[in-house]
């Protein structure tokens, strides 16, 4: 084949883009044995499946509105309000093809508008990749391991003083489940208002934190906040990839306009599934939270029994540990056929994240970690 300098140039340019080349997270197998998952794994209820199939057989297979089916947007707005997220109505909500599209739209559209974005040192790699597509000015925020890798408030203040006008913050942190407390949320809100800055608030893990504080619920903060996450997580929609964004209408319109260019609309079957699931979710979720909380408490005791460092985290679906010898631990876990999420992919080497899937899988993991712990 003839050598193409043009192709080489294009490829080299992308390969030199460290943000774009951020890791694609290791595969999630979404089984009770897979400890690398984020949200709990659960099959979609058969009644939901049949209702979706019936709607599809009935002809609901065509393009739908770019921002999402109106009824679904209403249901999402209702769910966000019930969680106490903020004063978002249906026309503030944009349905997305999973949480990654929500990240991409918010980071690229607002990053372009506000001259770049600040990203925590420890963050879901999808946020880095989203910022790398059309290169934005990226400021990195220091995080504190002892606080579950939440960005430090001093780091946020320094960035504001340095002219940063857009922040991407995870609360809870995707790696550890640590969430800002109410006092920190109020302090961030005050600082953002003082500097006329904005925030993209990834709250995808919030349903797993009891009483999770929301920045957009603070007075006037919804005007400067985009919230995003997965719709009704843990109830069987995970592999269908249904996400959401909510923001003031001016910003929502800009993101809607960009979504139109990317994918026209979010896939109809998932939107139908979301609508069917919404009413059933509160009961499913409440039962899950109770079971997960018990399991996590047990897992924390196991970890402490092995003298492992448990990182702060409020989300009941995850447990993050800092290891002294992660390579050895990885080898032992793999020998037992166990997958976990590694902090290295989020920017925190030496940390591993366990999903609260089942006591038997977790017991196997702790046995592997015991073997990997130097005497």
């Amino acid at each position: 084949m003839a050598h193409s300098q043009t192709k080489e140039l294009v490829i080299q340019r992308h390969q030199a883009n460290a943000l774009l080349q951020a890791p694609v997270l290791s595969p999630m197998k979404r089984s009770p044995e897979d400890l690398s998952v984020d949200h709990p794994t659960r099959p979609l209820e058969a009644e939901v499946v049949e209702a979706v199939a019936s709607a599809l057989h009935g002809g609901q297979t065509h393009y739908v509105d770019v921002p999402g089916m109106p009824r679904l947007r209403e249901l999402l707005a209702g769910w966000l309000q019930a969680m106490g997220v903020g004063p978002y109505a249906a026309d503030h909500v944009l349905v997305t093809a999973g949480v990654q599209e929500a990240r991409f739209l918010s980071i690229q559209v607002l990053g372009d508008l506000l001259g770049g974005v600040a990203l925590p040192d420890v963050v879901h790699p999808g946020a880095l990749k989203a910022a790398g597509v059309r290169r934005l000015r990226v400021h990195r925020l220091p995080t504190e391991g002892a606080q579950g890798f939440l960005p430090t408030l001093s780091g946020i203040r320094e960035a504001l003083a340095g002219g940063v006008r857009l922040f991407y913050l995870e609360s809870p942190v995707r790696l550890t489940g640590a969430a800002f407390d109410m006092a920190s949320v109020k302090e961030i809100a005050h600082a953002l208002q003082e500097h006329d800055a904005a925030v993209i608030w990834d709250q995808g893990l919030a349903p797993w934190v009891e009483g999770c504080p929301f920045l957009a619920a603070e007075p006037d903060l919804a005007e400067r906040t985009v919230v995003l996450g997965e719709a009704w997580p843990g109830a069987g929609l995970e592999s269908m990839l249904l996400g959401y964004l909510a923001a003031k209408q001016e910003w929502l319109e800009m993101m809607r306009s960009q979504k139109q260019v990317i994918s026209i609309c979010t896939s109809t079957p998932y939107q139908l599934a979301g609508m069917e699931l919404a009413g059933r979710y509160p009961q499913i979720h409440a039962e899950q939270v109770r079971a997960l909380a018990r399991l996590r408490q047990w897992a924390v005791e196991q970890a402490r029994g092995l003298s492992l460092e448990v990182l702060p985290g409020a989300a009941v679906n995850l447990l993050a540990l800092r290891l002294r010898d992660s390579e050895r631990a990885n080898a032992r876990l793999r020998e037992k056929g166990l997958e976990v999420a590694w902090g290295e992919e989020f920017g925190a080497p030496g940390v591993l994240r366990l999903a609260m899937t089942s006591e038997s899988a977790l017991a196997k993991a702790f046995a592997a970690l015991r073997e990997a712990t130097p005497a």
């Binding site: 694609v24 990654q100 026209i264």
Partner: protein, 388 residues
């Protein structure tokens, strides 16, 4: 507030679509959404996938069985040989495929040769990438043929790639195989990449022949080719499509896919798999229906003496309304308000196309006839008022 993402042409189309929704008796001859529903066996596959694979893992490039089916499809239909492991990426429909093709190859200040008129989203994607559009005109008096020499003459040192859409949207012109070969030769000589949009490759009329640039010797190594299930299987709402190309470029497409939307939903992927591997008779039935409907629109326009580019492929035609003396956006709005028929203005597709309307034939025959009758009424009124 002005941003890189504002898009006049696309927004004009969506505003007309929104207005059309306000009329209970509206007939939509604008949007490219087939009136047919997705064949039942595909819906059944989706139902089964929700029950059996609802929690399966899918990588950003898509599940292997679907990539294998895509590889077989492009081999059989397009003559393109690809390795399903490394040379296929599944996307959220043709639209995401189009967006990914552009942002994976065109950077800030790079130029893309774009035949005009064209599907307006190419301009939007290019604007997002901060690339430069170099429009290469195709002319009505030449049947909107893309003349290879004009493409060659438009090349500058900033040019990185050429876009080839065949059948073209909105002109419905098909690039003849000899011209495709010549365009590939130009790409080789000038060291350009090729972005090929084959989305209407199954919808050809009057013996027109489609040739994929990647099937031409020397073409595959520099060509990304997109396609989707939306048009061929009436699956517009599902969002399932793909890009195929050489492994080195596809590795970058995969990175961009992971950055933009991550993986494509497992259910849409299993539905796509059923579409590609299951019965194909629905596709042929739809193709025959479009061929009949195309005649209905052509006859209606002929009766008014309206000229149009001969639709050799696709699901629409591009009608010349210059005789009205009206701008196409103004005329489309007037037809919509007075007759409740939605047609798309040419001005949304390219500068200089203000004298064209894109009319799709994606409605049942009786509805299409009724729609064209209404268009005819509107035109006659306009001509009468001009005469007065």
């Amino acid at each position: 507030m002005t941003t890189q993402t504002q898009k006049r042409g696309t927004d004009l189309l969506y505003s007309l679509l929104a207005e059309a929704r306000g009329y209970a008796d509206a007939i939509v001859l604008g949007r490219g959404d087939p009136d047919f529903d997705t064949p039942p066996h595909i819906v059944e596959a989706a139902r089964k996938a929700m029950l059996e694979h609802g929690n399966d893992y899918t990588p950003p490039e898509g599940i292997l069985p679907l990539r294998q089916a895509i590889a077989e499809r492009v081999q059989k239909v397009n003559g393109i040989t690809v390795d399903p492991e490394t040379e296929v990426v599944v996307t959220n429909g043709g639209q995401e495929a189009l967006f990914l093709m552009v942002i994976s190859t065109i950077g800030e200040g790079d130029a893309l040769l774009v035949p005009e008129p064209n599907y307006n989203t190419y301009n939007d994607a290019l604007r997002f990438a901060r690339g430069i559009k170099v429009g290469v005109p195709t002319l009505p008096e030449e049947g909107f043929r893309l003349v290879p020499q004009r493409m060659r003459e438009a090349i500058t040192e900033r040019t990185r790639a050429m876009l080839l859409v065949s059948p073209n949207n909105p002109s419905a012109a098909v690039i003849p195989p000899d011209d495709v070969r010549e365009l590939v030769r130009i790409a080789q000589e000038e060291d350009l990449l090729i972005l090929a949009d084959d989305i209407y490759d199954l919808f050809l009329y009057d013996g027109a022949q489609h040739l994929s640039p990647a099937a031409v010797p020397g073409g595959k190594e520099r060509t990304l080719t997109l396609n989707a299930l939306s048009k061929a299987f009436a699956m517009t709402g599902w969002r399932a499509g793909w890009i195929v190309g050489p492994a080195d470029l596809m590795a970058q497409v995969r990175q961009h896919k992971a950055a933009v939307t991550g993986a494509t939903s497992i259910v849409a992927q299993y539905a796509a798999l059923a579409a590609l591997t299951g019965p194909q008779d629905a596709v042929e039935q739809m193709r025959q229906a479009y061929a009949r409907r195309r005649r209905i629109v052509m006859e209606a326009l002929d009766s008014l003496g309206i000229r149009y580019g001969m639709p050799q492929g696709g699901q629409f035609l591009f009608a010349d309304i210059g005789f009205t003396g009206m701008d196409s956006a103004e005329l489309a709005r007037q037809i919509l308000r007075e007759e409740h028929v939605l047609v798309y203005p040419g001005s949304a597709f390219a500068p200089g196309c203000e004298r064209y309307l894109r009319i799709t034939f994606l409605q049942p025959e009786d509805k299409l006839r009724e729609g064209m009758e209404r268009v005819k009424r509107a035109m006659e009124r306009i001509l009468a008022s001009k005469a007065a």
